[in-house]
């Protein structure tokens, strides 16, 4: 395969990323159980702790896709054909749908589920 020459050799890099994923997950679980007070205020529509969770999740996703799925070692144009649609469509969908959900919440009579 093209660019295989750049691949890290040996198994050390695999375990390095494993530890990274494990530590990030442990931090998430720790924060989720302890819920430190300074992260429990609302910033930009949701709790600060949720922003932290989302950023940590994206960090994990980056390492899984780039290293475990070897995307980093593919051709540049290949990487962009995968990354661009995901990076444009997913945040766009998330933005419009969640804004809509917030609005629906503000006008819905909360006491009648299912309607």
């Amino acid at each position: 395969m093209a660019d295989h020459a750049e691949h890290p050799t040996g198994t050390r890099w695999i375990w390095n990323i494993f530890w990274l994923l494990l530590i990030v997950t442990a931090v998430e679980v720790g924060l989720g159980i302890v819920k430190p007070a300074f992260l429990m205020n609302k910033v930009a529509g949701t709790l600060l702790i949720n922003h932290v969770f989302i950023i940590l999740t994206l960090v994990k996703a980056y390492y899984i896709v780039m290293y475990y799925m070897h995307l980093k070692y593919e051709r540049k144009n290949f990487i962009w054909t995968i990354a661009l649609p995901a990076l444009i469509l997913i945040p766009y969908l998330t933005f419009i749908i969640l804004v809509e959900g917030g609005y629906m919440g503000s006008i819905t009579l909360q006491s009648i589920p299912g309607n």
């Binding site: 494993f18 997950t25 679980v29």
Partner: protein
């Protein structure tokens, strides 16, 4: 493989059709584009979950109050069990990278061992998920659902959630998760003890005191566990999304285990050794890592946020 040399020599002619402009085989490309479309599907589901969660914020259960079990341990331990499931899946991702790594070295024995470990990891994950679904369906505390569709758990004066068992039989007798309670006995027990209050499922933990709870409880009925129509945890859509999204992910894991097994049989038979490369292991590996990737997001949006 063979393309490496020609790619380097005719770099300016990359789009001329003489070589592969994306520098990857057809199978690998198609696996990637399939995964891209699958990623969009899963984002659609998770975003839909977000939409209804925002819409019904006060009735949407706090995940900390839903997933609290751990095998062989009594008491409430939010997040620990899902963290274990996450660990299992990350671990099986590692063994998959190891298998791919051994494949590059054409080490048949190495690929066999690591692939088997990956299949085992997937199977353990599926088993853990079955266990979690089981407890989700059976339920823990039970709740009452009012005429207007809202629902609440019963709590003591401090706001600690009590199970239906606690208020009907008292909290000092052993707890049987499968006991079904009649609406009448629960209402009678609630009325008899003025220290009992109602707790709404949302993160704000709104409390309805005993006096204002009485007219609501009068026309309510008991909900235990979860199904597609209602669940004791909160808004009915919560369980629907839980079953659908974790179910769809579990279906992916199951398919992944199946594919891994087919590839495993071929590895053992020496098919890839004769072919001269283990690219099939890489392709199925891409799928397997994707399953792990989706779980990372499901973990965040179902259990953490």
């Amino acid at each position: 493989m063979a393309t490496q040399a020609s790619v380097d020599q005719s770099n300016e002619n990359v789009w001329g059709g003489g070589n592969r402009p994306l520098g990857a085989s057809y199978g690998k490309l198609m696996m990637w584009y399939f995964l891209l479309s699958d990623a969009l599907t899963f984002s659609g589901f998770l975003v839909a979950y977000g939409l209804y969660r925002f819409k019904f914020e006060s009735l949407w259960p706090d995940p900390d109050a839903v997933f609290t079990h751990f095998p062989f341990v009594h008491g409430e331990y939010p997040l620990i069990y899902v963290a274990l499931m996450t660990f299992i899946l990350i671990m099986s991702s590692v063994t998959m990278v190891m298998a791919v790594n051994e494949g590059h070295k054409m080490n048949q024995k190495g690929v066999t061992v690591w692939m088997l470990a990956t299949i085992l990891g997937g199977a353990i994950f599926l088993g853990s998920q079955a266990w979690e679904w089981y407890h989700f369906i059976v339920g823990e505390h039970g709740a009452v659902r009012f005429e207007d569709g809202r629902m609440a758990k019963i709590a003591d004066a401090d706001g600690t959630v009590l199970s239906l068992h606690d208020i009907v039989h008292g909290s000092d007798t052993p707890h049987d998760h499968h006991e079904k309670f009649a609406t009448d006995e629960v209402i009678a027990a609630f009325k008899a003890d003025p220290s009992l209050q109602l707790l709404l499922p949302g993160k704000e933990r709104e409390i309805i005191n005993h006096k204002s709870a009485l007219p609501l409880v009068e026309n309510s009925y008991v909900v235990q566990g979860a199904n597609m129509k209602e669940n004791e945890y909160g808004h009915p859509l919560f369980a629907n999304f839980f079953f659908f999204i974790t179910g769809f992910h579990g279906f992916h894991v199951f398919t992944g285990v199946l594919l891994n097994f087919i590839i495993f049989v071929n590895i053992v038979k020496g098919t890839y050794q004769r072919r001269g490369h283990y690219e099939m292991v890489e392709k199925v590996g891409l799928y397997w890592h994707f399953v792990d990737l989706v779980w990372v997001f499901v973990f965040t949006f179902f259990y953490l946020v």
